[in-house]
């Protein structure tokens, strides 16, 4: 029964996107609309542009900025989150400031980063890092501050201190929250990558999309949009695989207590 049902689900999972693609194909071929070129034109443009003509010139720079910004955000966010998670008075002092900085709509900072850092990759990386750090920081802070008193007491009694305590107890205990923050930050990184490349840029996928639009190469523009969708999907998939591996203990423990 359950087996049959799961087979049905998988069939639906494959079938639904397939039907949608066919629908798009029919719709775009039927309409002679300028803004919706036939799907096959978009796919031809996709193959021409991304496999692998512009891989080195646009995809790689984009991914480089994305990962650099994201990694900086994760490292700094976790480090500051651990600090604030430990020191209650500092947490109290800082939380209004953090809430304020976090509330700034990300693109609003673009003019600032351009004027302050310039138009090269480092400005884009800084913007991505600045936006992605907040969910990581706040979740890490909550995770560290919320560690069970018994876990702490166990560490004290068995004289587990310093690096051992940080790496093998605190960060592990807070890792479900840290991962939740990283998961929230991931799509932000992609969004900021695209936006930053659409303004004052000379390469990257976002640059390609806006440039195609400006030159009325609509099929090329759509090929870039499709690529961004695929990238977002793949990034999420990779993240989920890593998360499942790192948090297998957490998922297992949660499943048994339920």
């Amino acid at each position: 029964m359950t087996r049959r049902r799961s087979a049905l689900y998988i069939a639906a999972e494959v079938l639904t996107p397939l039907l949608i693609v066919i629908g798009v194909l029919i719709f775009t071929n039927g309409s002679a609309g300028f803004y919706f070129p036939p799907l096959q034109d978009v796919l031809v443009a996709f193959q021409r542009n991304w496999l692998f003509d512009r891989f080195g010139t646009d995809i790689l720079p984009s991914l480089g900025r994305l990962f650099a910004g994201y990694l900086i955000a994760v490292v700094l966010g976790v480090a500051l989150g651990v600090l604030l998670g430990h020191v209650r008075w500092l947490r109290r002092q800082m939380s209004p400031i953090i809430e304020f900085l976090r509330a700034i709509p990300p693109p609003a900072l673009l003019p600032f980063t351009i004027i302050a850092i310039g138009v090269d990759s480092s400005a884009k990386i800084a913007l991505i890092a600045f936006i992605c750090i907040w969910p990581v920081l706040l979740n890490t802070m909550d995770g560290i501050a919320g560690i069970e008193p018994t876990i702490k007491d166990t560490g004290i009694v068995y004289r587990i201190r310093g690096r051992d305590s940080l790496l093998f107890v605190e960060l592990r205990a807070a890792s479900p929250q840290i991962f939740a923050g990283m998961r929230t930050a991931l799509p932000l990184a992609l969004i900021l990558m695209v936006i930053s490349e659409m303004v004052a840029s000379t390469n990257g996928i976002g640059y390609f999309v806006i440039q195609s639009q400006r030159t009325f190469a609509i099929a090329d523009m759509w090929s870039g949009i499709v690529l961004l969708g695929v990238l977002g999907y793949l990034l999420n998939l990779i993240f989920t695989l890593i998360e499942r591996r790192a948090l297998s203990w957490y998922l297992g423990a949660r499943a048994t207590t339920r």
């Binding site: 069970e148 876990i151 007491d153 423990a253």
Partner: protein, 266 residues
């Protein structure tokens, strides 16, 4: 020898705080099994945490072999009541037991030997590669006991370790405690609110009075060893001791109820 002299513990400020322990003085000899029993909310756990160095007394001194205890000493291990929170769910059973040994500068072989000896002593040699949450509650508490034993403390403190377990598992683990006491030659200080357990395990029972806690009676238990769940508990001596502890606790509970003392939060 663990020596507490004139220990008081106050939570909160001097004017408004609550006095949990007042002027507590007692000694515990090496290789003794001492149980601490008292009405619920009397401050038993506070006393244990003071001995473990997790809390600092407001007044008085705690000495271990003449050395003042100001922070958790290396010779003391503690088994917590809440085993599921005290074991690290991200570590396998063997890693949980081995983890406190990291600071002890042992060779890898020494460390592994200690871990496997402790795990076999508690009957979990075959479960080293499991995660704690894959085990039953009783088995998890065995892991916590193994972790304490592998640490090779002089004193093993136990804070109501079997409070959350069913009667049969509890009886098995009581016998396990007595067995490992012989095997590892440790002093055991065991906090419980179970009167039978307090008499069955002990060489000496300390019955605590109502808050602020003091020692109501210090009772020597001269039951023959080895103890047996059926035979020992069937003797008139056991019944007599049990009745004596019960009388004291009941009087304390009544006194606490009359004074309107709220139970201490856990």
């Amino acid at each position: 020898m663990l020596k507490l002299a004139g220990i008081s513990k106050r939570y909160g400020s001097a004017e408004t705080g609550t006095l949990a322990v007042k002027d507590l003085t007692f000694e515990i000899d090496d290789r003794e099994v001492v149980t601490i029993v008292g009405p619920s909310g009397c401050g038993k756990t506070t006393v244990l945490k003071l001995m473990a160095g997790l809390l600092r007394p407001t007044e008085g001194t705690i000495e271990l072999d003449g050395v003042p205890v100001t922070r958790p000493p290396e010779q003391i291990a503690l088994v917590f009541q809440d085993y599921s929170a005290s074991l690290y769910p991200w570590m396998k059973v063997a890693d949980n037991v081995a983890f406190p040994l990291r600071r002890k500068k042992l060779s890898r072989a020494d460390r592994d030997a200690r871990v496997s000896r402790a795990l076999s002593s508690v009957g979990l040699a075959d479960f080293a590669d499991r995660y704690p949450w894959q085990l039953s509650g009783g088995m998890q508490q065995r892991v916590a006991i193994a972790r304490g034993l592998a640490y090779q403390p002089r004193i093993l403190l136990m804070d109501e370790p079997f409070g959350a377990l069913d009667a049969q598992t509890r009886a098995d683990l009581e016998d396990l405690v007595l067995r490992v006491r012989e095997e590892f030659d440790v002093t055991i200080i065991f906090v419980t609110h179970d009167i039978d357990e307090s008499v069955y395990l002990a060489d000496r029972v300390l019955v605590m009075g109502p808050r602020p806690t003091f020692i109501d009676v210090d009772l020597a238990v001269d039951l023959p060893s080895p103890r047996d769940q059926i035979v020992t508990k069937d003797t008139p001596e056991f019944s007599h001791l049990r009745a004596e502890v019960y009388r004291r606790i009941k009087a304390s509970s009544l006194a606490m109820a009359a004074a309107g003392t709220a139970p201490e939060p856990h």
